[in-house]
């Protein structure tokens, strides 16, 4: 139950972060917004490492890690960059649905291929989640067509 709460909390923090990042980008520009984000994150994680030094593994174990696993940091910047490119060109209602499709089904594939985890419930749950998103996206779409000035409002969020 505690991990379920943590996972929900991740979503809450991500949205708070998005709002703050939008404000930082508006004020300082996109590259500077991302740079400040990563600078502060690198500093705070370095502090965390110093505080938790006892639970850090030996350097030798770090050398054995597959280089691919280090790509996460680069991919993080790439996704932020891509997202900024997509937002002005794809209606907001599609962004939520399409990103969900990519993220959820790639997650299920990774769970299955690499972690050997497969459950019908997760697939059924994922499909229900998608159906709900599509229902809401269609409602948003209908309102945008009836009220075109609402487009900018929807995009901003």
């Amino acid at each position: 139950m505690v991990f379920i709460t943590f996972s929900f909390l991740i979503g809450i923090i991500i949205v708070f972060n998005m709002v703050l990042n939008v404000k930082a980008t508006q004020s300082e520009g996109m590259i500077n917004g991302i740079a400040m984000n990563y600078l502060m994150a690198a500093i705070s994680s370095a502090i965390l490492c110093v505080v938790m030094v006892k639970s850090i593994p030996a350097y030798t174990s770090l050398k054995a890690i597959s280089p691919a696993y280090f790509m996460g940091g680069f991919i993080g910047v790439l996704t932020t960059y891509l997202f900024n490119l997509i937002v002005p060109n794809v209606p907001a209602v599609y962004i939520v649905v399409l990103r969900f499709v990519g993220q959820m089904f790639a997650s299920a594939a990774i769970d299955y291929i690499y972690l050997g985890v497969y459950s019908n419930n997760k697939v059924i749950g994922g499909v229900l989640f998608l159906i709900g998103l599509i229902i809401n996206a269609r409602i948003d779409n209908k309102h945008i067509q009836e009220n075109p000035e609402a487009v900018e409002n929807t995009k901003a969020c």
Binding site: I31, I56, V90, F100, I135
Partner: protein
């Protein structure tokens, strides 16, 4: 083209979360978080140099804009804690659900200076189906 880029964005997010999770199982959550952000910082500084971008004067930047970096660390740490226990799909599903709930609240009330976009009653059906999906996912 941009629509397929949007799907690609989601796939990349899943791959990123997976790589971080795997790195974390080897190095522990703290070093993996540091590696993730240090490499990201290097890449964005390279992009900044290539694009001849002028970095801001840190003393003049609002303190509030430094908060996302700290929150990113908290997010990655929580991800790295949850993924080995409940898998990526459920962690991602619940996190997306949290995003949906908070962003709907922000839109409805126009919080944080965001434009107001009232919650439409017709959306209750969609939200119920989404909530049912999450309940099915949890009840493994």
């Amino acid at each position: 083209m941009y629509k397929s880029l949007t799907i690609m964005n989601g796939v990349l997010l899943a791959v990123m979360v997976f790589y971080n999770g795997m790195l974390s199982t080897i190095t522990g959550p703290y070093i993996s978080t540091l590696i993730f952000h240090a490499l990201g910082l290097i890449l964005i500084l390279v992009i900044s140099a290539v694009k001849r971008n002028k970095l801001p004067n840190m003393r003049k930047v609002s303190l509030l804009f430094f908060l996302p970096g700290i929150l990113s660390v908290v997010t990655i740490l929580l991800n790295n804690l949850c993924i080995p226990k409940i898998g990526i799909s459920l962690t991602t599903g619940l996190s997306l659900y949290g995003q949906l709930v908070l962003s709907s609240l922000i839109e409805h009330y126009g919080l944080f200076g965001m434009p107001v976009n009232r919650f439409k009653r017709e959306k209750i059906l969609g939200f119920s189906v989404i909530s049912l999906g999450i309940i099915v996912m949890i009840a493994i």
